[in-house]
């Protein structure tokens, strides 16, 4: 299970909560910090050169001019600048990156075959990851060198002496490079889709001689009739499928290597096997909210942490009252045609002793009314650290012996007035643990379109392209090409480690901040030992706290590219929720506004011929 990002509702994500500031507050704070820092730095630099009075006037003038300039942006001039940037990128061979992608794609067929255990995962991971990095790298190179080269070659003189606003120069280039990136993304996407379908497409044959006919004899009449067929397909691309057909000669082959095939018996006794089915999926998840109970059955903030590697998961202890409780929004619409609730369990297992590896760790789950003390009987299951689909019957046995209500209906009896139902999961084996997170257990709502899921994944990639190009261009307004490229790479690299830095800024790492860590290093004290009491400790902690404050600001100034990465949804066959796309759009929009403004002021205050 690759998806480890919790998915918040728009309200939870945007508005302040108990444990987070919310996107809106962070955005407003970022704008305020940028404005104050920009004005202050501008004033200091200008003061050194021209004195405080002139500096005050200069900063004020630039700030005041920026608004009418923003309002008088001309689409025609932005269009001209965009066209120029587009032409420049194309004629300076930016499409080489696409050619490189195509060459690698063509030859990758030698090494990536559908013979692997998880061919879909392999193909999608390769295609999406490779092209994402290639594209982002190209976008960095595209965006960081152009403006410095223009300044160095003085071609920008002929632009600056025309009636072009700084906004227009910046936006024109930005749109041009985003346009090139978008064009390549679309081209790569189309090629990837074709590669994927062609690479994974295969079929099998069935030898009619090897198929067993299933018959049934009527006890009364003694008549024998055919009730189906059983057999196995030929061994192609590293696997074969056992199958069983109904009396009409139709059926699905057993699921192997993440897919199945439709098998049909023809009138002449031969069999037809379709192409792979249910291979490229986009299952729509209906997620709930999770809370934990500790070993005494008391509510706790999070599950047990068994180490950094499994930090995302809260663990519940086996053989105790410890439980993970999911609260779902429940309705009839979630049940399938057979009145079953399709669910998927992806529980992690943490063992303190080896036990029986093959059989997994035993546990149980039951449904409970959120407000009343009524619940269904526990259903045992075994967690094997792999996704398991469970079809839960709508009618569940009552855990209490109540002759008037021996069964409980999931919707009618166990769902409260707010439409909520609770699912309790417990681990039965003492000394063993289940790792549970929001994404671990969910209701399978429906099967979405893989194509649209694929498109949504590419929209996320496009968001990354926009971010990378915008960052690169902003860096290039005040740095020379190679330094801007380095800065962009660091920003990109940082984006993929942002979660760790955020944890550090929130004081979630052991050992304190830089000063405390240095003292620990010097005194050879390990991170779990408290420092001695004393005034100096307070001073050290105060300095570290300010460092963390600064780091928190920094954390919110650079993007967390993990938040813009949805390829794990596609690889794992899950639909990308709309709310995730909207949140990504807002993140990119917020960064875009801040960065474009920053780029404008850098250009505006830069002495272009200096």
């Amino acid at each position: 299970m690759g998806i480890e990002n919790d998915i918040y509702s728009m309200n939870d994500w945007l508005l302040p909560g108990a444990d987070h500031l919310g996107g809106l507050v962070v955005f407003i704070s970022a704008i305020a910090i940028l404005a104050v820092a920009g004005a202050l730095i501008g004033f200091i630099v200008s003061s050194i050169r021209n004195g405080p009075f002139e500096a005050f006037y200069a900063v004020g003038r630039i700030a005041v001019e920026s608004v009418p300039e923003l309002l008088s942006i001309s689409p025609r001039r932005v269009g001209a600048m965009t066209w120029l940037a587009f032409q420049e990128a194309i004629r300076k061979r930016a499409l080489v990156a696409f050619a490189l992608f195509m060459v690698v794609l063509l030859f990758s067929g030698w090494y990536i075959t559908p013979n692997s255990e998880s061919p879909v995962r392999l193909y999608l991971s390769f295609v999406l990851t490779f092209q994402n990095w290639l594209l982002l790298l190209m976008c960095i190179l595209l965006s960081v060198f152009s403006l410095p080269a223009d300044i160095q070659n003085k071609t920008i003189y002929t632009i600056y002496t025309k009636p072009v606003l700084h906004w227009e120069i910046f936006l024109g280039r930005l749109f041009g490079y985003i346009g090139v990136g978008s064009m390549m993304l679309v081209a790569m996407g189309v090629c990837s889709y074709v590669f994927l379908y062609r690479g994974l497409d295969h079929t099998h044959q069935i030898d009619p001689q090897s198929v067993t006919e299933l018959t049934d004899t009527d006890d009364d009449t003694g008549e024998t009739k055919v009730i189906g067929w059983e057999g196995e397909t030929t061994f192609n691309v590293g696997h074969s499928h056992p199958f069983s057909l109904d009396a009409d000669g139709d059926g699905l082959a057993a699921r192997e290597r993440q897919h199945t095939h439709q098998v049909t018996r023809n009138e002449d006794g031969t069999f037809t096997v379709s192409g792979p089915k249910e291979m490229l999926q986009a299952r729509v998840r209906h997620l709930g909210k999770i809370r934990f109970l500790d070993r005494g059955g008391e509510p706790t903030n999070k599950g047990i942490n068994v180490g950094n590697e499994w930090d995302y998961y809260g663990h519940i202890e086996g053989g105790t009252l410890s439980a993970a409780v999911f609260t779902f929004d429940m309705s009839d619409a979630l049940l399938n045609e057979e009145n079953q609730l399709p669910m998927e369990f992806n529980l992690r297992v943490f063992r303190t002793y080896k036990g029986d590896i093959v059989s997994g760790i035993r546990g149980s789950y039951y449904f409970k009314h959120p407000d009343l003390d009524i619940r269904s009987r526990s259903i045992p299951f075994t967690a094997k650290e792999e996704a398991e689909t469970v079809l839960v019957s709508r009618s569940q046995e009552n855990s209490d012996i109540d002759p008037t209500a021996p069964n409980l209906d999931l919707v009618e009896n166990l769902t409260n007035a707010d439409g909520k139902i609770e699912l309790w999961i417990q681990c039965s084996e003492r000394g063993q643990y289940y790792g549970v997170a929001q994404n671990s257990v969910f209701i399978l709502k429906s099967n979405g379109s893989f194509f649209w899921n694929f498109v949504k994944c590419y929209i996320s990639m496009w968001f990354q392209v926009v971010m990378v190009v915008t960052f690169g261009l902003v860096f290039s307004t005040f740095l020379n090409g190679p330094v801007a490229a380095l800065a962009s790479l660091i920003a990109l690299g940082y984006g993929f480690f942002a979660e760790s830095v955020r944890e550090l800024a929130n004081g979630e790492w052991y050992g304190g901040g830089p000063v405390e860590s240095s003292i620990r290093l010097f005194n050879q004290k390990n991170v779990m030992v408290d420092l001695d009491e004393g005034v100096y400790v307070n001073i050290v902690k105060f300095i570290d706290a300010r460092f963390f404050d600064g780091l928190r600001v920094f954390v919110n100034m650079l993007p967390d590219y993990n938040q813009l990465d949805t390829h794990s949804f596609v690889v794992d066959g899950y639909n990308i929720p709309g709310v995730v796309m909207i949140q990504q759009l807002l993140i990119v929009g917020a960064f875009f506004v801040c960065l474009v403004t920053t780029g404008y002021f850098f250009l505006k205050t830069r002495e272009i011929a200096g």
Partner: protein, 314 residues
């Protein structure tokens, strides 16, 4: 050195009016390093006025400050102190740039574009209808003689061809004020002549031209007034013909003299009844004047050049 005359008045420039198009007041530019320390004082308290309809030449050796002056007037540099005004406003204002054209020293153009694409691109930066733009592009390409190569990328152009397309882009908006930085650089003699003719034609159309050049003869031929800069200071400014006039010598030009008459010409030219064409103060060349000012400036740095001339006489 012969005495020359300064006449700092545009009133006598044929097509110039009294409207001031460019004005600098105590304009100073100091280049600083990253730490804000002074590196070079490129321009020192320059006071200058250029009037509508005149061709004004900025003359000076390398590092004299003429390019800095032009960049300050174009808003490419910010003044350290003083003020530069174009059409009475700060040159960084976008509205000013609707009315100016600029031919840079080198052809700072996008070499991946063709000539037509270049003009199309720069034309789109101005507020003009597409039909007018296309018409102007056709006209300018015709004017600079690059019709035959209009579809070729500029990277395939010779230096002279690039200068021509550079000039075309400077004129794409039919500007009132044209900045020409070393316009004859890279041109062959025929191209130089055409460039001079064009500058004069622009003046005749009522446009104001500010031109810098290392080719002293170029300015001598076309400029109404010139300013000579050295080491960032204004050393001389005035009408070209006045600056070059040598007042303490008399030049006699005659035609049809016999060999015998030539022998006696110094004493009795009139007595031999030759046709007297002209008697006037001879002029030196701008090159001589320029070198004289530079020599004087180096001998007495920080002071206005002292050439032997009689300012009062006119």
């Amino acid at each position: 050195m012969a005495t020359t005359e300064t006449m700092d008045s545009a009133a006598e420039t044929p097509s110039a009016s009294n409207e001031i198009v460019i004005e600098t007041r105590n304009l100073t530019k100091v280049y600083r390093d990253f730490w804000g320390r002074q590196k070079v004082r490129a321009l020192k308290a320059l006071d200058l006025e250029v009037r509508r309809g005149e061709i004004f030449g900025l003359l000076g050796p390398n590092g004299s400050g003429k390019s800095t002056t032009m960049k300050l007037l174009l808003g490419l540099l910010f003044p350290t102190s003083g003020q530069a005004l174009v059409f009475g406003e700060d040159p960084s204002k976008v509205s000013i740039k609707e009315r100016i054209g600029y031919l840079p020293e080198e052809s700072y153009l996008y070499r991946f574009l063709s000539a037509r694409e270049t003009l199309e691109f720069y034309g789109r930066l101005f507020d003009m209808p597409a039909s007018v733009r296309r018409e102007r592009i056709d006209k300018l390409i015709e004017m600079v003689g690059l019709k035959w190569a209009e579809r070729r990328q500029l990277k395939e152009y010779s230096k002279g061809m690039t200068r021509r397309i550079g000039l075309a882009q400077a004129l794409i908006n039919d500007p009132e004020l044209i900045f020409l930085d070393e316009p004859t650089t890279g041109l062959d003699p025929l191209g130089i002549r055409e460039m001079k003719d064009l500058i004069l034609r622009l003046r005749d159309e009522g446009k104001t031209v500010l031109v810098t050049s290392h080719q002293l003869a170029d300015l001598q031929d076309v400029a109404d007034r010139i300013a000579i800069l050295h080491q960032g200071e204004l050393k001389e400014m005035g009408r070209v013909d006045a600056l070059l006039k040598v007042r303490d010598e008399t030049q006699i030009r005659a035609r049809g003299l016999s060999d015998a008459a030539k022998e006696e010409i110094r004493q009795v030219i009139q007595r031999h009844e030759a046709e007297l064409i002209d008697i006037e103060n001879p002029t030196t060349t701008l090159e001589e004047l320029f070198l004289s000012i530079v020599r004087d400036s180096e001998a007495r740095p920080g002071r206005r050049a002292r050439v032997d001339r009689d300012d009062s006489a006119d």
